[in-house]
Amino acid sequence: MSDASWRILVALLVYNGEEYVGPCLSSLARMESGPHTTDVLVLDDASPNPGWSERCRDMTTDLGFGYYRTPRNLGIPRNMNLGMLRAVDADYDAVILLNSDTVLPANLIPTLMRPLLEDDLASSSTAWSNNASIYSLPNDDSDRLVDMPGMIDWISERMDEEFDGQAIPVPSGVGFCMAMPTRVIKDVGLMDPVFGRGYSEEIDWCLRSHSMGYKSVLAPSCFVYHAGSGITKAEGLIGDGDRTVAAHHAIIEQRYPLYISQLIALSASSIVDGMRERGLQRIITSAARDRGYRLETSRLNQHAGDHDVVRFRLDPNGDAASLTAVYEGFEAEFALGEGGALPTVQAIVGRPPTEIRIFDRGAASKDLEAEAARAGATAILRRAPYRERVL
């Protein structure tokens, strides 16, 4: 691992979105830069909401960050360009372009920078997220995550343990949180203003860099929360009936005819699916090890508000060959071993369940009861008095 120390500029792009900016700025304030030094610059693209720019400036300067409001609205690509230009002009080593509907983990800087430090040909490094195109760890309850910065830190630490700084070459980076070395920006240039108010500009930039011999990488060791299209939709930048997305896709297709087939090839391969499975399983097993877990037989994936409990669910009839595990909106599948559900989860987690719940009767439920009775360590706490599923 490289022990170089970089000067990094985080350029946070703001356009209204008051409800998102607070949590994002708080997470920036908690960030640990490791051997690097980091400055934050908030680029307010002439937000039109009355009074918001003043409040944004106060919040930003109170945290010791730089703030700049453009005299006129530039649109996302040209606002990104301002951040990139500032990074080049002020001799930073890298810039991180950041959407304001994100919450960052404390380990963002070392994990996102590592692929760029280790490979001179990496033009961009994109974070893993709950919402980043095909590079996502899906979460069913992502609105909860925005208020849980500690959980974002914890997930990102687990991802770093699992992937240990791996860098996966991808067809393009994703602009919600993308790091780029300034020496590459000097070579490749800026975002193309033809993308107007924004969408696909970062794809164009990445593909332009690829045509010059660089590559874009995904940094799965870094997990960033991303609300996703929240501000662009809320502010009417992209909406139903709008032709922006189609028009920008058309430009990309015209300029880079191989891009779509590269995306399809990546999706069809097991690379991203495999990483997603590893990531999700890591979250579940680590949480189960740290906090205990529940084993239940149920036909329904019910959780009665207990999102923070790790639950391994077994089909009561034993029809499924896997266990489904859930925790804080993340879901992972684990193959069911021949010895039964209880030995399987104990082998996965390394400890017995703290609780067993049987909601529905069936062959597998009966086996589980017998296994639990033999093990004797875990009490069966509840049994539903009637069928859980109506029909």
Binding site: Y67, P71, R78, R86, P193
Partner: protein, 87 residues
């Protein structure tokens, strides 16, 4: 410090805006030229299409005239008889 930052970003923003304007102007000129070329091509193709339509109509009329002649009907019958006898 904040003032110095704003001044610096104003300068960068203005310089880049001028570059963007120059680029946008060049692109407008290029697109206009290509639009004019494409428009000319459309006009030429439309004119060619009209000529071909007229020619096609003339051939259709000639064909109908031939089909309605006694000689054509006689030849058709002879052809049918030949086919029936396998000649």
């Amino acid at each position: 410090m904040q003032e110095a930052l704003e001044k610096e970003l104003d300068r960068l923003s203005l310089t880049q805006a001028l570059v963007d304007t120059e680029m946008a102007t060049a692109r407008v000129i290029d697109l206009t030229e290509r639009l004019v070329d494409a428009r000319e091509q459309v006009v030429n193709l439309r004119s060619e299409l009209e000529h071909l339509r007229i020619e096609y109509t003339q051939y259709r009329v000639e064909q109908e005239q031939m089909k309605s002649s006694a000689a054509y009907r006689l030849a058709s019958r002879i052809w049918a008889v030949r086919n029936a006898f396998g000649v």
